[in-house]
Symmetry: C2
Subunit: 216 residues, 2 copies
């Protein structure tokens, strides 16, 4: 009807046939959906609709829904990596840096629940192996490994002990966030206390355990 106005140099082209950078736009759109509502609100069709593109356009770029989820999770790990790096840089002792690395994990999860669950949940990483995603994960996890190595360094501990320690630290932080996020807390957590405080305490127990390793 009134769609006749289509000069060659449209300042704000309302809907050109080719989007240009649909891939990145979709990741942004998906990220926005995750932040706004929970996951489950994230659908290919919805994300496509929100950026004014056809329902099937994304399939060209991502193949299927899982492809989009992989891209979103990868972006998530990159953001987390930056965040964790910054947090670690603020600390001034080896123990402080280890605590910062662990707390960054907790805080990122609490701040971005849906994205965090997508990143660490079974929907993505247990279903596909994507090189860019794995690299992003390695980077983010590497920061923790470094902090552990620094904390336990020069005590004559072998590679195996480092592994064990890093995995313990990761499992601990992962356990804390997911429990706090899923409100599985009901019986055990006194919920009027701030979650960060609870997390700090649990991390304290773990550090105690690492200290015991140190001495052994």
């Amino acid at each position: 009807m009134s769609e006749v106005v289509e000069p060659s140099a449209d300042p704000i082209p309302s809907r050109p046939y080719h989007h240009g950078n649909l891939r990145e736009a979709m990741v942004e759109s998906a990220l926005a959906l995750l932040e706004a509502n929970g996951p489950g609100e994230l659908s290919l069709r919805r994300a496509a609709r929100d950026i004014g593109v056809s329902q099937t356009a994304p399939l060209y770029h991502f193949g299927n829904k899982l492809g989009l989820l992989v891209a979103v999770a990868t972006e998530g790990f990159r953001r987390f990596h930056s965040f964790r790096k910054a947090r670690i840089a603020e600390a001034h002792t080896t123990e402080g840096r280890l605590r910062a690395a662990m707390m960054a994990y907790v805080e990122f999860g609490l701040a971005h629940p849906a994205l965090f669950r997508l990143m660490t949940g079974p929907e993505v990483r247990s279903k596909v192996r994507d090189e860019a995603l794995e690299a992003a994960v390695r980077d983010a996890l590497g920061l923790l490994r470094d902090c552990i190595a620094e904390y336990l360094g020069g005590r004559g501990l072998g590679e195996d002990d480092m592994h064990r320690a890093a995995l313990s630290a990761w499992a601990t932080s992962h356990g804390i966030v997911t429990i706090l996020l899923d409100r599985q807390d009901s019986p055990l957590v006194e919920s009027r206390r701030p979650p960060q405080e609870i997390a700090e305490e649990i991390i304290g127990v773990l550090i105690g355990g690492l200290g015991a390793m140190r001495a052994a």
Copy 2:
């Protein structure tokens, strides 16, 4: 057509109008779907189809899909409770019982991934408060609390310390299972080692941390 054969005492009534105990049958059906395929394969329609009932029949009993999930999760926690109880009973020292309580959590998760994720994931417990479900959770978690209390008992530790310790133990076991399940292990876990062994080690680190609390 050939459905004229309907005497009063039908030995195997192929499809009577009223199922009788549709509620329990649906929970069974859902449980079977979770064990067979992952979650995501679990749909109201599918579970209903599998027991030869109309697609909308379950809604009368569960209200909506979440209602079914709640029922399934509750049953899951009851089974886990029995399993954990039995595992604890096999141990003969206070530390052994604590380890058993934690390992039971890990082993249950590894044995029933989809059910475990339903029980502990965000789909159910963060969306609804059901009394039967909460009671089942309390029972299962109570076993861990008892083991912790026994392990740290008589050392002059207060309620707060017990809380902290129980939460630490829970977070640790929860972190281990989810990491093992989601194969987030890639960079950190040497995957040729049996997961139980890895879990035992991490639990060892935690126990070390609890030991430090004990002394403090």
